[in-house]
């Protein structure tokens, strides 16, 4: 995709020797700088993304493919276990993003105010973001054990009979979402902290002169001016939530039954079972879901963005 007509040797004598008409043709910012990245990205990201549309219409063994029209999609949307993956994906993404927006803001408020141990608290909240998702998943699988787990033990102390988090079909998906929030809320929080800190102090001073209280400050200043941060948190957690796989796989493997299966885990299961065409159809569905949600949403949310 780059213009390779320009010779690749860094021509040291060129600048001195060619003051003529040739000089205009040679930008100091040559397009072939795109080339290494373009090759890797084109071959390993663009080509698979585009060919996925074709392969999702085939019965496919990697080595040869046979065109079967929309059969894979028919299978995908007929099989209840697969369709439920689609709804679970949406539930998971919406629940985790909403929780991260609310909790991220709630955590960022005290963490930008004058409290003791602020630096420590910020670090503690953020650190899970950097930890292995699989490690977190396995740890919480143990903590959420219905009979012996620490969470239900703790709830038992205050008289609450905790649910069977991961083994109860009603709660499995939401329990994983809860752990996702635990791990990811730190990123939302630091984004909000960056947003709140960048609000000029003059606004708060003017508000104080006008006799505004804490709630007014939040409602009239922080919330509107932290809007870019909110947009970022929503988009990032939706993108992450829609394609989420590793945490679910580490904790429930889509179970019990198919009650916590999402599209990404369906893709993996079909791949493992050797149904490459069906797996790729799942990938195309995921692609469509993500683009249908994220692109318009980012347009909509960014339209009225306050420039920071």
């Amino acid at each position: 995709m780059a213009t390779t007509t320009i010779d690749k040797t860094p021509a040291r004598p060129r600048a001195a020797a060619a003051p003529g008409p040739r000089r205009r043709a040679r930008s100091p910012y040559p397009y072939w700088f795109y080339l290494p990245a373009a090759v890797i990205y084109g071959v390993l990201f663009v080509v698979p993304t585009v060919t996925a549309f074709y392969f999702s219409l085939t019965r496919w063994t990697i080595f040869d493919s046979q065109f079967i029209g929309l059969d894979n999609y028919v299978t995908f949307f007929r099989e209840p276990a697969l369709v439920s993956g689609l709804t679970h994906t949406l539930i998971y993404a919406v629940v985790t993003s909403a929780a991260k927006v609310v909790l991220g803001m709630l955590l960022a408020l005290p963490l930008t105010s004058r409290i003791v141990g602020r630096g420590f608290l910020r670090s503690v909240v953020f650190f899970p973001v950097l930890v292995s998702t699989i490690g977190v998943g396995l740890t919480f699988t143990v903590l959420m054990n219905p009979d012996q787990g620490l969470i239900n033990d703790a709830l038992g102390v205050v008289g609450i009979d905790g649910p069977a988090w991961l083994t109860d079909p009603r709660y499995a998906l939401l329990s994983v979402a809860l752990v996702d929030v635990w791990k990811g809320v730190g990123l939302a929080t630091v984004i909000y902290i960056a947003g709140i800190v960048s609000i000029p102090t003059e606004y708060f001073e003017a508000a104080r002169v006008d006799g505004a209280g804490g709630w007014d400050n939040f409602r009239r200043i922080i919330l509107p001016l932290a809007r870019p941060a909110t947009v970022t948190v929503i988009l990032l957690s939706l993108i992450g939530g829609l394609r989420s796989f590793d945490l679910i796989w580490a904790m429930t493997r889509g179970g019990p039954g198919f009650t916590s299966d999402v599209i990404a885990s369906v893709i993996y299961k079909q791949y493992q079972a050797g149904f490459y065409g069906l797996s790729t159809a799942g990938n195309v569905v995921l692609f469509l879901v993500v683009t249908a949600i994220v692109f318009p949403l980012s347009r909509l949310l960014n339209r009225r963005e306050v420039d920071l």
Binding site: T112, V124, V125, T139, I191, I196
Partner: protein, 281 residues
């Protein structure tokens, strides 16, 4: 400089106390649990409780985990190190080149490149077709294949971070270097790249954490016991150590240490990188 709702002259001690206790319970207890379970003996570890270890088996558990499956963990650490170092290095250089030309030169490619960067941030990669491409290139089940895959999936985010930073470097600098007779390659590698050091540090840290913690791509593109990366050992050990939770948690502990060290050393840069890339979103 902090502009916040609660700007009294004194810290709010009540709020502080509540926040610290809540943070300890919610965010610190799980990590303490990991450490405690990792040093317990096998029988006590399977109780899953928060008790103090009756017998400390730190060394014993450590040796057991490292020796398991013919030192698989050592091989996995070597694999993960190669993967992280190689892919992050390639990512940094190639994406800095893209971001530089993209930021400096207004031309017919800009729209397309912007679109591709945005797509790279949003679109989930198509798994099996990627395997098909790798297979065709003879790179499936190879470390080089996985390295290139990580590069391809990480490029977009790097370009975003680099471009924002390059915009702050004055063009006069380029012009001065050109007048001094520097060609494009020398201009970029000798003049611009050294100035990118702060953002390179950020990109390296953030991407290292991503690649090191990546589970999905090694799972798909580098299957096979001897190829395991550290994240895959967790996954493999989980089935093997189903009754030996002390060893499983020792593995989790060992795998958590590298990010912890990085976080302690570079807390500020990591947070800056993750939020800077995000705010521009």
């Amino acid at each position: 400089m902090s502009a916040a709702p609660n700007r009294g002259p004194r810290p709010n001690y009540l709020l502080s106390a509540v926040a610290i206790v809540a943070a300890l319970v919610v965010f610190v207890v799980p990590f303490v649990f990991i450490v405690l379970t990792a040093v317990k003996d096998r029988r006590q570890a399977s109780d899953f409780d928060f008790a103090w270890p009756e017998r400390f088996q730190l060394v014993q558990n450590l040796v057991d985990v490292v020796q398991a499956r013919d030192y698989l963990l050592i091989i996995a650490y070597i694999n993960s190190t190669i993967l992280t170092v190689a892919s992050v290095t390639i990512m940094v250089i190639t994406s800095a080149m893209v971001a530089y030309v993209l930021q400096r030169r207004r031309g017919r490619w800009n729209g397309l490149v912007d679109f591709l960067v945005l797509s790279g941030l949003i679109i989930p990669p198509a798994v099996v077709p990627t395997i098909w491409v790798l297979q065709r290139l003879g790179l499936f089940r190879t470390m080089s294949g996985l390295i290139l895959v990580e590069v391809a999936f990480g490029l977009a985010f790097c370009v975003l971070l680099f471009r924002a930073f390059i915009a702050t470097i004055p063009r006069e600098l380029d012009e001065a270097a050109i007048i001094d007779g520097a060609g494009p390659v020398r201009l970029f590698f000798r003049v611009i790249l050294p100035l990118l050091r702060p953002v390179i540090v950020t990109v390296v840290l953030v991407q290292s954490v991503f690649v090191y913690n990546d589970f999905v791509n090694p799972l798909y593109f580098l299957p096979g016991e001897q190829n395991a990366t550290v994240q895959l050992t967790l996954y493999n050990f989980n089935s093997q150590f189903n009754t030996q939770y002390n060893l499983l948690f020792m593995d989790i502990l060992l795998i958590t240490i590298p990010p912890l060290l990085m976080f302690v050393a570079f807390n500020r840069q990591i947070v800056a990188g993750m939020t800077a890339g995000a705010i521009k979103g």
